[in-house]
Amino acid sequence: MRGLRVYTIFYLIFLYAPIILLPLFAFNASTIIAFPLSGFTTEWFAELWAAPAMHQALRNSLIIAVSSAVLATCLGIFAARAATRFTFPGKGPIMGLIMLPLVLPEIIVAVSLLVVLLGVGINLGMWTVILGHVLICTPFSIAILNSAFLSLDGSLEEAAYDLGETRWSTFRLITLPLIMPGIISSLLISFTISLDEFIIAFFLTGTEPTLPVYIWSQLRFPTKIPSIMALGTILVALSIVLLIIAEYYRRLGVRKTGGKDTGGFL
């Protein structure tokens, strides 16, 4: 099946094309983002370092991403535990509603939240963005934690009950350590999603821009674009590191619970 292999490699090149270009333009001496390249420079990284608006946006984004990741993972633990261990009336519709943001266009989530928040009279700001991001991160967190809970051997918990542990102490001593890798990868995935999310932040952020909102505002100015390429290069490097950590913990979790590795984040 040579042909299929060659096709797959070409497809991977197509997938990686934009990411390969990013560092090329980040270190290119010309302000015009086009070929041919004109020379090597680290000027754009220096310019980035000296942009206070970018630092503020980065700080906002980090606060939002960390809060959203923690909240979404907490909500995800409740839902994944309930969905994998218990049957209860209305389970289908309830899970359907919780997982709905996975298939809902983000602009719909953004405008509907905007209407309600303004209607109630809440001022827009970082924490309104957090509300939206928790909503869209929770389904991903549940998907990851579901597989963590499913690969958990139920007899371990039963053994703990039989040996006199309470529900809570069993959860803390047995369940939590075993699903910890799932929790860590859920935190990292939610963090990455929130850090990169644009539309909801664009609608709900008010006067406190997140990093994507800042990038969006800079894309209009041709002279700012090289430093955005530099920023993009840093972000790519950072998210690859985070993903490798997340993947490491996911595999560790699979090995810990003795399951078979089926691969992938979904």
Partner: protein, 295 residues
């Protein structure tokens, strides 16, 4: 007394424990998702007065959203773009999923999936912007084609139009198509394929009559996962679409953030949701034969 014991029994039951456990997440989704969605449905029946909302129910917003040729054109274009993107993404992704599932050693599969997903965890805005660089007048495609002497003048039909939107979105949604198809292919019992070959079917007929029908649940999932969010994409049409590539999300954003006409914006959003739901349901209905297959 009787009621209390019944309540007591219920509150210790499995169902009650499950409900209690899911209630924080469910309440959050109810307040932050169900209520806001209901609110935009309600808004879509109101009128935008100057600086205030007029609280008399009306169908005027829908008359405008469906009747105005401008909005109708934008809606039809969004449907067409989403359809083309879905077709391109799923057709291009299937062989990749097939290769990884059937020809890659089991120990290597997660590495391949990892390689496929990596590009998609990097800034979406910058990725879309880079497609503008690739497809632009002085872009990568034009300068390399001119450098090779294949064309004399830069191609202009690849940026600021529907083509550019389709290419960029087909790239952006690639993993969402590959992963569900891969999962469906992985579930196929390999002995069924051997049986088909033993009974004298050719490689192609085995694929056509055994593999493909069994992979259809994954294909249907891929189609829905790509089609539904694509139709509401804002960034790509805005950056690479140009004036003739605008889609429904751009119209919604314009009404909300620029013109401050929430009722009309809501009517457009609700209409888009209804159309997406209708198209998805029809698609699932047409493929119900494959979805009944027991895995």
């Amino acid at each position: 007394m009787d009621a209390r014991t019944r309540w007591g029994r219920f509150s210790r039951s499995e169902a009650a424990t499950g409900l209690k456990l899911i209630s924080p997440t469910a309440l959050y989704a109810l307040i932050m998702l169900a209520v806001p969605l209901a609110a935009i449905v309600a808004y879509s029946f109101l009128t935008d007065g100057y600086l205030e909302i007029i609280w008399t129910p009306t169908l005027e917003n829908y008359a405008e959203a469906w009747g105005d040729p401008l909005y109708r054109q934008v809606m039809l274009r969004s449907l067409m773009v989403a359809g083309l993107v879905t077709l391109a993404t799923v057709l291009l992704a299937f062989p990749v999923a097939y290769y990884v599932s059937f020809y890659v050693r089991p120990g290597r599969k997660s590495l391949w999936l990892f390689l496929i997903t990596i590009p998609f965890w990097t800034s979406y805005l910058i990725r879309v912007f880079l497609w503008k660089v690739i497809l632009g007048f002085n872009g990568v495609v034009n300068s390399s084609l001119m450098g090779l002497g294949i064309i004399d003048e830069p191609l202009t039909f690849i940026l600021y139009n529907v083509n550019a939107v389709v290419i960029t979105l087909a790239h952006a949604y690639a993993p969402f198509a590959i992963l569900p198809i891969f999962v469906a292919l992985e579930k196929i019992d390999r002995s069924l394929l051997e049986a088909s070959r033993d009974l004298g079917e050719s490689t192609f007929m085995t694929f056509w009559r055994v593999t493909l029908p069994l992979a259809m649940p994954g294909v249907v999932a891929a189609v829905l996962i790509v089609f539904i969010p694509t139709i509401g994409d804002y960034v790509t049409p805005q950056l690479v679409g140009g004036p003739e590539g605008r889609m429904i999300a751009n119209a919604i954003q314009l009404q909300y953030l620029r013109l401050d006409n929430y009722p009309l914006g809501s009517a457009l959003a609700v209409s888009a949701m209804l159309i997406v739901t209708a198209v998805s349901l029809i698609f699932v209905f047409l493929n119900r034969r494959f979805l009944r297959v027991k895995q």
